[in-house]
């Protein structure tokens, strides 16, 4: 038995689950959709929720990014829009991000089921039957740039398919070529091609069709297998010996080697010049808001679009950051800070 001035445990971290004393903690911000944007959004939300103090240079350290504040991470970004600090060290408001694909995200956004709809293709291509006025309700926030790589199974890569021309790629996805022996450079036994596609409605799929075939609804009958998310595509490609797939850059690693793409005579090599603006399969990554952008949404988006966000979330996810011009342009779409 002892005595003290304060109750034990006070001031300690009681965990993020406790709410403000008056119970007015704003409801959580929800984002959902694209599995391409997911790495960015998820990183951002994880960082947000950790609400690292300014002293934590590993995750926050504002001075590294030219920000002058003593506040913790989420406190600072939310504070820009007047949100009060969370209780017990947690973020002023909670945020979460779900994972499916662009079509679902935009659909949910339109139905009011999420605050932010992640999409890796423009809404106009994604909801191709929507009217102008319907599309006008979406506010587009570009948060990063993806250069869609073409990946093949390791065995194929080792059998010589380290580069592929746009024409071959097209014939594979149009179903005209279905054996690797029909692919130039391939030096191996006859092997059927497993052309992997993403679910219809995914931004990766939409962007791929739009960029390669010129039409977001172009039929690609060569697809043998469709998976809902990028990560599943990666699993399939790495577990197969005959697969080719398009996906998002963030998911490329040694188990799913990316090939060089030859487009109109120009060679685009992964790790070198995929990020070039003229790479045909490059695309913007979007986080849409619906019927304007609220302060809550803006707080998170501002963090992602900021220089800090671009470095910590976009680049580290494996995507290309926005150029300064585009960044400023995007920031200008957000409501003003207080």
């Amino acid at each position: 038995i002892s005595t003290s001035k304060t109750p034990p445990g006070s001031g300690g971290s009681d965990g993020a689950s406790s709410s403000n004393a008056d119970g007015t903690r704003p409801s959580p911000l929800t984002a959902g959709g694209s599995s391409t944007v997911y790495p960015i959004a998820n990183r951002a939300v994880q960082y947000w929720r950790s609400n690292a103090p300014a002293s934590n240079t590993k995750y926050w350290g504002p001075s590294q990014y030219g920000i002058d504040t003593e506040q913790a991470l989420a406190d600072y970004w939310a504070g820009l829009y007047g949100f009060e600090n969370g209780d017990g060290g947690s973020a002023p408001f909670d945020a979460s991000v779900t994972l499916s694909h662009s079509g679902t995200g935009l659909e949910k956004l339109r139905n009011g089921q999420v605050d932010i709809g992640n999409s890796s293709a423009p809404v106009a291509a994604e909801l191709s039957d929507a009217s102008e006025s319907a599309l006008a309700k979406f506010t587009n926030h570009v948060v990063g740039v993806d250069a869609q790589p073409i990946v093949v199974s390791e065995e194929i890569y080792e059998a010589g398919v380290t580069s592929i021309t746009a024409a071959t790629l097209k014939s594979i996805y149009e179903g005209e070529i279905d054996d690797w022996q029909q692919v130039p450079d391939y030096e191996g036994p006859s092997k059927s091609i497993q052309a992997i596609g993403r679910a219809e409605g995914s931004g990766t799929d939409t962007a791929f069709r739009k960029n390669l075939f010129g039409d977001a609804n172009a039929p690609i009958p060569g697809v043998d297998l469709r998976k809902g998310e990028n990560q599943q595509v990666k699993t399939v490609v790495s577990s197969s010996s005959n697969a080719i797939a398009y996906m998002a850059l963030a998911f490329v690693d040694d188990s799913v080697p990316a090939t060089t793409l030859i487009f109109n005579g120009k060679t685009f090599t992964p790790g070198k010049n995929l990020a070039d603006p003229d790479y045909p399969l490059s695309r913007d990554l979007h986080m849409y808001t619906y019927e304007g952008t609220t302060k809550k949404e803006a707080a998170l988006l501002r963090m992602i679009i900021s220089d800090y966000g671009q470095q910590r979330f976009v680049t580290e996810s494996g995507y290309a950051a926005l150029t300064d011009d585009r960044r400023r342009n995007q920031l200008s779409k957000l409501p003003d800070t207080q």
């Binding site: 059927s192 679910a199 043998d224 399939v236 577990s239």
Partner: protein, 355 residues
């Protein structure tokens, strides 16, 4: 004895007015509550309070009648809920039926499923469901009946007492666990060993579903076999028949309805299995070529995996078509369930006299 004489020689007559009063009161108030909820939601509280008051008063005054009324209301709401689900499914699938007509269930062509072109034919998915179910039952049927026979007729008592509950527990393994194993092990194995063209096959999915349905079949069939009266079996053994002859000639035929119910239950589970197929199959809405090719890249979609993979991007006719897939599933399992109940009723009729 000590009871008051009034009680002892009380009137035999006593009118049951409780049911009428409570019944009328609660019926009026509950209807008012629902009406208020639909018309003036803000005023719902008053009839609801009224209803609660009626029930409370009834409970105190005529408990017997009130209990009956409350339970009747519970029954009614159960029926309403279950009916609502059924009707809603049917109603939602009307638009696509209008658009596709019977073609929804019969259309065969180059494109059979294309939301962009407004073509919705469930044929590939029904075929996929059919094939996976057949494969599953080829695995689970014989093994399941063998397991049931072994457990109920052959295993020593101690073994039976371990196996039976163990099998029942195994029947509880969630299907996503099977899906996970199927995705990371079965698909991988088949891809590697059989040089499958793509990662996933109807065959692999069917086998996994079969394994999943197996414990259910064993357990239900075992119950049916164990329920065959010993007198029946003794009758055969006492005639000098061997145990195996007794099993085939007496036990199995007598348990026929139960064993077939087990199989039908297994079929039902196989038909309705969602997660394993969703994660294992390639989601190609085409017909296999040739039709019986359960290893090839085509036709890898079932009714359930169609719904699970497309609900998120569907709207309009597309959504309606998914509901139609649900209705097809629903009607199939309902038919199976009614069929098995009929078989059971017939068998009961047939066996009713004796045993």
């Amino acid at each position: 004895m000590s009871t008051a004489d009034g009680g002892r020689f009380g009137r035999l007559q006593n009118l049951d007015e409780g049911t009428r009063r409570v019944g009328a009161g609660s019926a009026v108030t509950i209807v008012a509550t629902v009406a208020a909820f639909l018309l003036f939601p803000a005023a719902t509280i008053y009839p609801l309070l009224g209803f609660l008051a009626v029930v409370a008063y009834g409970w105190w005054r005529y408990q017997e009648a009130t209990a009956k009324v409350v339970m009747a209301l519970m029954t009614a709401s159960t029926v309403v809920i279950l009916g609502l689900i059924t009707l809603y499914l049917l109603w939602q699938s009307v638009p696509v039926l209008r658009q596709m007509g019977i073609g929804l269930l019969t259309h065969v062509g180059a494109t059979m499923w294309s939301p962009n072109d407004g073509v919705f034919s469930l044929v590939p998915m029904m075929w996929g469901t059919f094939l996976t179910t057949i494969i599953a039952m080829c695995v689970a049927g014989p093994l399941g009946i063998a397991g049931a026979l072994f457990t109920s007729e052959m295993a020593p008592r101690w073994a039976r007492e371990i196996i039976k509950p163990a099998i029942e527990v195994l029947a509880g393994i969630p299907s996503i666990v099977y899906g996970f194993l199927g995705f990371v092990i079965v698909n991988d194995y088949m891809m590697r060993e059989l040089s499958l063209p793509i990662y996933g096959s109807l065959f692999g999915a069917g086998v996994v579903i079969g394994l999943m349905a197996l414990p259910t079949i064993v357990s239900v069939a075992e119950d049916a076999l164990a329920a065959v009266p010993d007198e029946m079996k003794d009758g055969s053994v006492a005639l000098g028949a061997t145990s195996w002859q007794t099993i085939t000639a007496v036990t199995l035929p007598s348990a026929f309805s139960g064993v077939s119910a087990a199989i039908i239950l297994g079929v039902g589970r196989a038909l309705g299995e969602t997660m394993a197929v969703t994660v294992m199959l390639a989601h190609t809405q085409t017909l296999p070529d040739p039709l019986y090719d359960v290893f090839g890249p085509n036709g890898q979609e079932t009714l359930t995996s169609l719904i699970a993979s497309q609900y998120g991007i569907a709207s309009g006719d597309h959504m309606s078509a998914l509901f139609a897939a649900g209705v097809v599933l629903f009607i199939t399992v309902l038919t199976l369930s009614i069929g098995s109940q009929l078989v059971e009723a017939r068998m009961r009729e047939k066996l009713g006299g004796g045993a």
